[in-house]
Every structure is written in structure tokens, then in C-alpha cells.
């Protein structure tokens, strides 16, 4: 089979040969979600997880199972009787007194032979205090921290913010006060066309006809992305490459040969048709996509003669030009201003209320729902409940996978979860 273009999910999984190896068979279901490229990204990722709590090990389970390359659990603590009761990756009461990280690593590693994992019993404070410690932290592709004390979290986030090669995910529950979050209404955001199989061909054509005469061939969010100013003058190669590609895309759209459109992707939407017409259409699409790809590369060469970008990256960019998104994050803590760290003894409803009021300003009226939120935190200030740990484990792992594979769209901001009424909301988007 000719491979003149980068492979998509369907192609990656259709030609699984008669005797696929064990790994391919094991990963079959997930390959359909993120393809071989996503899997490769996962397998080269190195994860640092700080604390071996129930939530942390839950997150890790969901990353070890799909085949993350390596993980290190950093945790100096020994297993307490309470730990032994809420963490599936400890061996019940026979783990009590042993090192949490060591117990957890061994039970996590047995989920997947291909994954490498180690326990690190050092203190995060000590590591952050030294130059080589800070370098060590930055050597990971992703850092996940659970329930760290505020001041150490601040130091860590400062370090990672200033050295952007490693993105990080922070997970918090219980010990620190949360500000009020609003319910989000459900928003349908369907990108892929999905056609009803029993819809008549004509109805379909009619419904889609508007595309012929719609005004702007370039979606507004893509236009906005193309006009983003560069944030920094960092010499990071991936950042330079990405911005070069963005500028090339803008030039592409403005060039006479493109008729103001984005490069065509060769993937046809599902449609009601006979095989012969479908194949003819597919050939036309392939031809156009090939031409657009070549035009893009010509422009790239012209605008950036000295820049050499990996061909696969250029192809992936062109192929996904319709789905480009740039997310700009913020450093942890910048939205909260400086909440004082509260120990368990201080978590009363009154103390929490005072805290919130001081954050939002004395004159601001606090909404009714806030009392519920405060009440829930005061009820169980240090609880890492098994179900909450499992829920967060799934949510955070999902975000981690999006970041590592660079597919789908990660959360930007804070995701707040209420497991009493069961809803989620995003706040603090920059």
C-alpha cells in the first residue's frame, strides 16, 4: 500500500494483519481512538506523580493500562492504616508500615509488562532546593501532583511555568477552599458529520447544500488562531516550527491558488451513496489534498528557507488544518491570588466563608449555593474517598492523555466537580 500521506485512524487499524502481535491485540480498542501516533507519544512519555495517594494511583492505573512509557512515584511516606483502606494499589493491612510508593509501584507495574515504573522516596522540598533536583523534575514529560501543600505547589508550579518543556497537571481535593463554580449547560460540539443511515440521498444533499454558498470558508476560530501574536521569543524548536506553520497557513489562504480555503483533507465524510460514486469522489479529494499539501510546502520553503521541520509534522499540520487550536494556560495560583494554607484544624464553615469573602472582596455578596459547597468541604476536609479518587483518576488521566498525544482538546482552566448532585464546571479560563 502506498504511503504518500500520513495515516489516519481507519487506515491504522484496518490493516491489522491476520497475526497481529499481542501488543496490537491488547491495544486494539484504544488505537481506534488515538491511532499509532498517539500510542507512540504515550509510550515515549515519562510521568512524574507526586504522592502515592488513592487519587494518584487511580490516575496512574488509567495511564499504565494504555501503555505509558515510564512513571515515577515520588512519596516519602509509609502506609498508614487509613491508606490501606482506601487505595486499591496497596495490599490491605499487610502494606501498613511499608513505603507507600514502593507498594503502589509494584501493584501498578503488574497491570502492564511494557511499562517501566519506579518509587522515589525523597522529599519534594529537598529536590526543589537543588539545581540538579530541579533539572530532574524538568526531565519528565508530564508532572501530576495531588494535594500538595500550597507553598510547595507554588514553588513547583513556578519552576514548571518558567521551563515550559514539561506541562503539568494539578489535582486538588479537600484540604484547600474552593471558590464558587457555576453549572455549565450542556453544549453539543460535534465536529464530525454523522449521517443517518436511513436518510435519503436527496434530503442529505439538500441539507448540506448551504455549504456551497456559505460566506467564509475559513471557520472564525481558525482565523483567530492564525492571527494570534507570538507570546514569547523562545528558541524552543517546536514553538518556532508551530508558528512558522501557522504563518504559512495564513499565506496559503491568501494565495490565489487556494481560493481562500484551508488545505483540503482527503478524508471524506460518511454519506449515502453507491460505492462507485464514493470511490470517484474519494479520488478527486485525494488529488486535491495532494495538490494543497504540495502548495503548502512550497510556500513554507519560500517563507522560511532556513527552517527545517520534520516532514511528518508538516503533513500532520496540513491534514488537521481544520482542527487547529492553541490553548494558552496560566500558572497555577495566579487566579487564586494568595489563599493562606489551611490545616485540617482550621477547616470550619466559618473559616472557609471568611476565606472566600476575602478572595472575592468584602463588598461582594456570596451566592446561596456557596453554603452547600462550604458545608461539603467542612464535612469531610481530608477525605480521599474511593469513588472520588476513581472519578478524578479517570478525569485526570483523560487530560494527561490528551496532552501527551496532542489529540482532542484539554481543559483550560479549573474543572470543578460536585459528586453530590453530579455535575462539572470549568472556571478560571484565561
Amino acid at each position: 500500500m502506498l504511503k504518500t500521506e500520513s495515516i489516519d485512524i481507519e487506515q491504522a487499524t484496518t490493516h491489522i494483519q491476520a497475526q497481529p502481535d499481542n501488543k496490537t491485540r491488547r491495544y486494539d480498542r484504544q488505537l481506534r481512538l488515538w491511532a499509532a501516533s498517539g500510542q507512540a507519544a504515550l509510550e515515549s512519555a515519562r510521568l512524574l506523580v507526586i504522592s502515592a495517594s488513592a487519587t494518584s494511583t487511580s490516575i496512574l492505573k488509567n495511564l499504565v493500562l494504555p501503555g505509558i512509557g515510564h512513571f515515577t512515584i515520588l512519596d516519602p511516606k509509609k502506609v498508614t492504616p487509613a491508606d490501606a483502606g482506601n487505595n486499591f494499589f496497596l495490599n490491605g493491612h499487610s502494606s501498613i508500615g511499608k513505603f507507600r510508593a514502593e507498594e503502589a509501584v509494584s501493584l501498578l507495574r503488574e497491570l502492564n509488562d511494557s511499562v517501566d515504573g519506579i518509587a522515589d522516596l525523597r522529599n519534594l522540598d529537598d529536590i526543589l532546593a537543588k539545581e540538579d533536583g530541579r533539572e530532574w523534575i524538568q526531565s519528565f514529560s508530564l508532572v501530576i501532583a495531588h494535594n500538595l501543600d500550597q507553598d510547595i505547589l507554588d514553588t513547583l508550579s513556578q519552576l514548571l511555568w518558567e521551563n515550559p518543556t514539561s506541562p503539568s497537571l494539578i489535582v486538588h481535593n479537600g484540604a484547600l477552599p474552593k471558590t464558587y463554580a457555576e453549572k455549565q449547560a450542556f453544549k453539543a460540539n460535534i465536529r464530525n458529520l454523522s449521517q443517518k443511515l436511513d436518510e435519503e440521498n436527496f434530503e442529505e444533499a439538500e441539507a448540506q447544500a448551504f455549504r456551497l454558498w456559505s460566506e467564509s470558508p475559513v471557520p472564525s476560530d481558525i482565523s483567530a488562531t492564525l492571527n494570534l501574536p507570538r507570546l514569547d521569543q523562545s528558541s524552543s524548536t517546536s514553538s518556532t516550527a508551530f508558528h512558522a506553520l501557522l504563518q504559512t497557513l495564513r499565506a496559503f489562504i491568501n494565495s490565489p491558488e487556494s481560493s481562500g480555503c484551508l488545505p483540503l483533507t482527503s478524508t471524506l465524510p460518511d454519506m449515502k451513496t453507491d460505492t462507485e460514486s464514493y470511490v470517484k469522489l474519494q479520488i478527486m479529494y485525494k488529488e486535491q489534498a495532494k495538490g494543497d499539501n504540495a502548495l503548502f510546502k512550497t510556500i513554507l520553503k519560500k517563507e522560511f528557507p532556513d527552517l527545517s521541520i520534520d516532514e511528518a509534522m508538516v503533513d500532520a499540520f496540513v491534514k488537521n488544518a481544520h482542527h487547529i487550536k492553541v490553548l494558552r494556560g496560566r500558572r497555577w495560583g495566579t487566579w487564586d491570588k494568595d489563599p493562606a494554607s489551611l490545616g485540617p484544624a482550621n477547616i470550619t464553615e466559618e473559616a472557609l466563608r471568611t476565606e472566600v469573602q476575602s478572595l472575592v472582596g468584602q463588598g461582594v455578596e456570596l451566592p446561596e449555593q456557596l453554603d452547600d459547597a462550604i458545608g461539603e468541604i467542612a464535612r469531610a476536609p481530608t477525605a480521599d474517598l474511593p469513588n472520588s479518587a476513581a472519578f478524578l483518576g479517570g478525569m485526570v488521566a483523560q487530560e494527561a492523555i490528551k496532552m501527551i498525544t496532542k489529540q482532542y482538546v484539554p481543559v483550560n482552566g479549573y474543572c470543578v466537580i460536585d459528586l453530590v448532585e453530579t455535575w462539572t464546571g470549568i472556571v478560571g479560563q484565561p
Binding site: 484496518t14 499481542n22 491485540r25 491488547r26 480498542r29 484504544q30 481506534r32 481512538l33 488513592a54 487511580s58 492505573k61 488509567n62 493500562l65 494504555p66 501503555g67 492504616p81 487509613a82 483502606g85 482506601n86 487505595n87 486499591f88 490491605g92 493491612h93 508500615g97 455549565q184 450542556f186 460540539n189 460535534i190 443511515l197 471524506l268 460518511d270 460505492t275 464514493y278 453554603d371 452547600d372 458545608g375 461539603e376 464535612r379 469531610a380 481530608t382 480521599d384 474511593p386 469513588n387 472520588s388 476513581a390 472519578f391 483518576g393 479517570g394 488521566a397 483523560q398 492523555i401 482532542y408 482538546v409 481543559v411 483550560n412 459528586l419 448532585e421 453530579t422 455535575w423 462539572t424
Partner: protein, 368 residues
Amino acid sequence: MNGSSSSSGDWHDRYYHVDQILDRPGPRTDPSFLAGDEVKDFLRNKCKILVIGAGGLGCEILANLALSGFKDIHVIDMDTIDISNLNRQFLFRQKDVGQPKAIVAAEFIMNRVPGVKVTPYYGKIQDKDDDYYLQFNLVICGLDSVEARRWINATLVNLVDPENPESLKPLIDGGTEDKKLDTDDPEHIGWLYSVALARAKEFKIEGVTWSLTQGVVKNIIPAIASTNAIIAASCCNEAFKIATSSAAYLNNYFMLIGTDAVYSYTFEHERRAECPVCGGESLDITISKEWTVDRLIEMLVEKQDIQIKKPSLASGTKHIYFQAPPQLEEATRPNLEKKVSDLIPDGGEITVTASSLPFSLSLRINYS
């Protein structure tokens, strides 16, 4: 280190985290909540819970329930372990491939979480009778089949005896994106709780299948650990709240989409009066006077909200058409060609039964 402190196998502080919830009420706790020893005694010594399915959702559910303090868990699954399960069904290992899921899962949980009893059944949910289901306080479903879901749903609905409050068994239903669904409505849930995850799903779900560029159609659903973890956790969270009354329940449908940031929608799915399972009324249908029994049967088979495959029809004591036993089928076969209007008057009733339905459906026939 310290060993067990009582015959239950629990050690001191084993439930330190969970007990923060059970020792005191919160702002959204029902007044009937019995904080402290009483609720813990019910949860850990008396409550019996059934988990249906020991696959992607089932493994997660079993682990969460065990850690939450449920000590008497039953699990049913009719499948054996396949290598493609291992990327998410984390109670299974390479060496278990080919073994029954229910049995391997039960053993794993019992080894990992001391003091929990997990009783497996390797077989179909339809193998079990009403008495079996009546012994449980709660049922959680981690099923991947619409048909099975409808079956258990209908079974539990039909167990309900208004004179006996114990016969009301809450059902918590978890699901991940099912691209094979052909139904018109989201699965019938009536007044039962439901937690489901959908991706690119509207409320009227249409069947969508993967379509490869070569025109081949496949029906395999991408499945990963994190998705199952979220849904299973929500289900177990509800189970915990229901079993202990420690906080308000989900009312009653939660849908989460994680492809673009995180979007979720929580809403109250209402009971339909005309629902054939729990609506309680006869289903009114209008057909042409010319329709044959065969045509009527065809229409019933196509009806999405009933999901009958091989219906048998009767009216009072009169057999109209029966699929089984063979002698009866043969005897009633000539009726297939007859007009319904010749057999049943306008406004008359037909009782529909089927082996896939644990109840009978009442149709009121009107002629147009």
C-alpha cells in the same frame, strides 16, 4: 502490622476516609440519614449488592464498591477474558485469557481487599429468577448490550409490589458510548437512576457505525480505562449514597463528553406515561382494517421502544399466533394471513408476550 481488630477483618482506621462522610451529615443530606454506627452496620454487615457485568465497567465497579465498604457483592457475567480486554479490565492478566470474567474478577477482589465477599455467577442474567433478584438492596449495571439492559430493567420494574417496599430495587445504569444503538429514545429508564456517558449523542440516538474508506462497516467501540473509570465511579458514588442516605442522589441522568475540554449535562429524565414497561397503561395502536396478523407482528418487531424479536399474540384465552411450542406454532400459523380486524374488534385488546420480555404487553387495537 496490627492485624484485624474484629471478626469482620477490619482494622482500626480502615475506613478513616469514608467515615468522614458517614459520621456526620452534610448540607445536602436527607433527614433520614443515620450517622454513625447504624449506617456503617448496614453498609458493611447487611447490604447486598449485585453487579451486572465484569468487563470494562464491571471491574471498576467491583473495586470501588469493595473499597467503599460493601462486603457482600455478587457479580454476573457470561463472557470469558479476551486479550483485547487487558487494556482496561484491570482485574485480569495475560494468564487469565480464556477464563470466565466473573470468576477471575471475584477472586482478584477478594485477594486484594480483605474481608469482602464476592460471589460470581458465570452465565446470563436471564438464567436467574425473581427470587434471586429480590435478595439484593441495589443493582448496578455495567452492560454493553441494550437488550440485556432492557431485560434487567423490565425485570426489576416487574418485581415491584406496592405492598412491599423492600421489593423496590434501585437500578444504577452505567454506559459508555455505544455506537450500535438503534433506539429512538435513550434507553428506557422510567424512575430508575441512570448514569451514562455519550459522545456526540443527541437525545434521539441514531445508529452510527464506523465507516472505513473502503466501505467496510465495523461495530467495535473504542474503549479505554479512563472513560470506564469515570462512569463506574459515578455509579458507585450513587450506590454508596443510596445505600447510606449520606447525601442527595443524582436526579437522574448524567452525561459527560471529554473530547473538547470537559462538558457534562445533568438532567432529570422523566417517566413516560405511555412507556410499555412502566407506564402501566395499555399501548394504544391504530392500524388499518386490512392489516394481517403477520403485518402487525412485523410492526411490533420494528418498534424500537419495545425491542421484541419474536412476539406471540393472544386475546383473552384465544391464541392468535404463538411462536412456540412447535405444535402451537403450527396450529396458529394460518392466522398470520388473517386480518386482525376479523379476529379482534375495534378497541379490543391483544396481549403480547415474548421470551425476550419478562412481562406481557397490552395492546389496544384501533382501526383507522
